[in-house]
C-alpha cells in the first residue's frame, strides 16, 4: 500500500502522511466551517426581533444554502490539490460530513452508553456486568425479548408483505395514485393521533352498554360478549402489532413501488412473449430484480420493530404481558433514573441488530462499485 510515487514527489511516507492529514482536514472542513458560519448567524438570529415569518424564511435559506455551499467549497479546495492527492481526498468530500455528524450525534453517545452500562443508577460506582445480568435475567426483560421477536416476525412480515402486495397490485391498476395515497395516509398521522384512532377500535365497555370500540361493536353484533382486547394474552401482542403494520405498510409500499418502476419493461415483455403467467413473472423476474430493495425495507422495519416503543407505552404501558425492550429502556432511563440499566438495555438493542447487519454486509459485498 505504501508504494511511493516515482517522480516529482520527495518521499512516500511524507506524502502519505500529508494525504492522511488532508483527509481528516477535508472531513472536518465542511462541518466545522458550516458550523461556525451558521452558528455566528444564528447567534444574531436567535435574539432577533424581526417578524416570525421573515426570521423563519431567512433561517431556512441560511441553513440549507450554507450546507450546500460548503460542500461546493470543499470540493473546490480538494481540486486545487495535486491530482493523486485529490483522488484520495475525493471520497471524503462525500462521506466525511456524514461521518463527522454521525460520530457526534450517535456514535459517541453510544460509546458513552457502553461506558455507563458498567456503572450504577447514578453513574457513580462501577458495578461490572450487573446491569447486563439484569437485562438478561429480569422476568420483564425476558418477556420483552420474546415479544420483540414476535414484533419482528409479524410486524416486518405483515408490513413488507402487504406493502409488496399493494405495490404490485397498484402497479397494475389505473387508480394507482388513489389507492397508494389511502394506504399511505396512516403514516401522515402523528403518533398522538394514531393513539386516539386505535382507541376507537379497541375500546371496551361492559356487556349491555353502547360499545364505542369498533371491534367490540362487531363482536356484540354477532351476539358474543365484548372483550377487553388488551388484556387477552398472548393475542394482545398481535393487536398491538396490527397498529405497526397499519402504520408501516405505507412506508414499505412507497419504497417497493419506486423499485418496481425501475424494473425494465423489456424484461417483463419478454417474459410475457414466452407465455409466462403473471404470477410467474412476478416470482422469477420482478422479485429477484427488487430483492435488494426488499432487503432494505425489511431491515428498516426489523429495526423499527426492535425499537418499538410509543405503541406499547401509550396503549398498555407494557402491562398484560406486552412489555418490549425499548419501553423497558425508556422506563429505566427516564422514569426510574437508572442510567446504568437504561444504557445496558440500549447496548443490548445494538447487539441484537448485529445478525441483520451481518446479512446486509454480505449483500453489500456482492454489489461492489468500481
Amino acid at each position: 500500500m505504501v508504494v511511493p510515487d516515482t517522480g516529482t514527489h520527495e518521499g512516500g511516507v511524507l506524502s502519505q502522511t500529508l494525504v492522511a492529514i488532508g483527509r481528516i482536514a477535508v472531513s472536518l472542513f465542511v462541518p466545522i466551517v458550516a458550523f461556525v458560519i451558521l452558528w455566528a448567524g444564528f447567534m444574531f438570529l436567535r435574539d432577533s426581533n424581526a417578524p416570525q415569518g421573515i426570521i423563519a424564511l431567512v433561517a431556512i435559506i441560511w441553513g440549507v444554502g450554507g450546507v450546500a455551499m460548503l460542500f461546493w467549497v470543499t470540493d473546490w479546495v480538494v481540486n486545487r490539490t495535486p491530482l493523486h492527492v485529490a483522488k484520495k481526498l475525493q471520497p471524503f468530500v462525500f462521506v466525511g460530513p456524514a461521518l463527522v455528524i454521525l460520530t457526534w450525534y450517535l456514535f459517541l453517545p453510544t460509546m458513552r452508553s457502553l461506558y455507563l452500562s458498567f456503572f450504577d443508577a447514578q453513574s457513580k460506582n462501577f458495578v461490572g456486568l450487573a446491569n447486563y445480568v439484569f437485562a438478561f435475567t429480569d422476568s420483564k426483560m425476558l418477556e420483552s425479548f420474546l415479544n420483540n421477536l414476535l414484533w419482528i416476525v409479524l410486524g416486518t412480515g405483515g408490513a413488507v408483505g402487504f406493502g409488496l402486495l399493494i405495490a404490485l397490485l397498484a402497479d397494475r391498476s389505473k387508480l394507482e395514485k388513489v389507492f397508494k395515497s389511502l394506504i399511505f395516509m396512516p403514516m401522515a398521522i402523528s403518533f398522538v393521533g394514531a393513539g386516539v384512532i386505535w382507541r376507537f377500535v379497541y375500546a371496551y365497555k361492559p356487556a349491555g352498554e353502547d360499545q364505542i370500540g369498533l371491534l367490540n361493536a362487531l363482536v356484540t353484533l354477532f351476539g358474543a360478549d365484548p372483550q377487553a382486547w388488551f388484556t387477552l394474552r398472548p393475542w394482545n401482542n398481535v393487536f398491538l402489532i396490527v397498529i405497526l403494520i397499519w402504520l408501516q405498510t405505507g412506508y414499505a409500499m412507497v419504497i417497493i413501488s419506486a423499485a418496481l418502476k425501475g424494473v425494465p419493461s423489456s424484461i417483463i415483455e419478454a417474459g410475457r412473449i414466452d407465455g409466462a403467467s403473471e404470477l410467474r413473472i412476478i416470482r422469477s423476474i420482478i422479485i429477484p430484480f427488487i430483492a435488494s430493495t426488499l432487503l432494505t425495507v425489511s431491515t428498516t422495519i426489523i429495526i423499527i420493530s426492535l425499537k418499538i416503543f410509543d405503541i406499547v407505552f401509550t396503549m398498555t404501558n407494557g402491562n398484560f404481558g406486552t412489555e418490549v425492550i425499548a419501553s423497558m429502556q425508556y422506563k429505566q432511563m427516564f422514569r426510574f433514573y437508572h442510567y446504568g440499566r437504561g444504557s445496558a438495555i440500549a447496548i443490548v438493542l445494538v447487539i441484537a441488530v448485529i445478525p441483520v447487519m451481518w446479512y446486509n454486509l454480505r449483500q453489500f459485498s456482492k454489489r461492489e462499485g468500481f
Partner: protein, 301 residues
Amino acid sequence: MTRVKSKKSNWSLVVNLILLVLVIVWSIPIIGLFISSIRPQDNVLSTGWWTIFGEHSELSLDNYRQVLGGSQYTFVDSAGNTVRASGDNLSRAFINSFTVTIPSVIIPILIASAAAFGFAWMIFPGRKFFFTTVVALLVVPLQIALIPILRDYQSLGLTGSYLGIWLAHTGFGLPLGIYLLYNYISTIPRDVFESAFLDGARPMVVFNRLVLPLSVPAIASLAIFQFLWVWNDLLVALVFLGGTSDVAVLTQRLANMVGSRGQDWHLLTAGAFVAMIVPLAVFFGLQRYFVQGLMAGSVKG
C-alpha cells in the same frame, strides 16, 4: 407505465377489487377518527362513531373551533373578575414547525445523498466498516443521545436555536437516509458513470448532474419519511428547542391540548387532522416523482 394496465379487463377487475378491500380496511380507522372529530364531545365519549349514521347524527365543529382558535379558559384576573378567554391560535406553531422541518429535511438529504454516492461508487479505506457502522446506528435509541448532545449544545450556545435542532434531526435522520439512498444509488448501472468519467468529469459534477437527478424517486421517498418524522417529532424539539410558546411546534401544542390530566382528548381527533394536512400535501406534492419512475425512463431509455 401503461405497460400492464391495458391488459385483460377481468384481471384488472380482480386487482382493483383486492385493492379496494385493502384500502377500505386501512381507511376505516381514519374515517372513524374523522367522524369523531366532527361530533359533539359527549357523543364521542358515550357512543360509537358509526352511530352518526343512525340515532346520534348531531354534527359539531366545536372541536375544530377549539383546536384552531385555542381552547376556552376560565380564570380570575387580578381585579377579581372571572374571565373567559381563548388560548393562542396555531399560526405561530405552524410557522415554527415549518422553520424546524424544512431544513431538517433538506440538510440530511444533501449530506446523505453525498455519503451514499461516496459509499456506493468510490473506493477508500474503511469503506465497509464505516458503512456497516452507519447502518448499525439505525438501531440506537435516540434517547441515549439527548443528554450528551444537550451538554455539547450548552457549551456551544446552541440550545434553543434552530440550527441546533436542524443538526440534531440531521444526525438522527442520517442513518436511514444513507441506507435508503445507498440502496438506490448503488443500483444505478455502471456505464452511466463511465462515459462521464471518461469525459474527465469530477465526482462532484457527476454527483450533481447524474446522481442527484437519477435518484429523484428515492430522494422523494426519503424526503417524505424525514418530513413526517420531523413534523411529528415531539421529544427532540422539546429537548433542544424548548417548549415556550414562542418556539413551540405544532406537536407540542397538540400534545398540551389534551389538558393537564388528559381530560380533553376529544380535541385530539380534530388536532390530528389539522396536523395531518401539511404532511398529506407534501405527499401529494412529491408523489408524482416516485410514481412516474424517472429512473426507469432516463436510464433505460
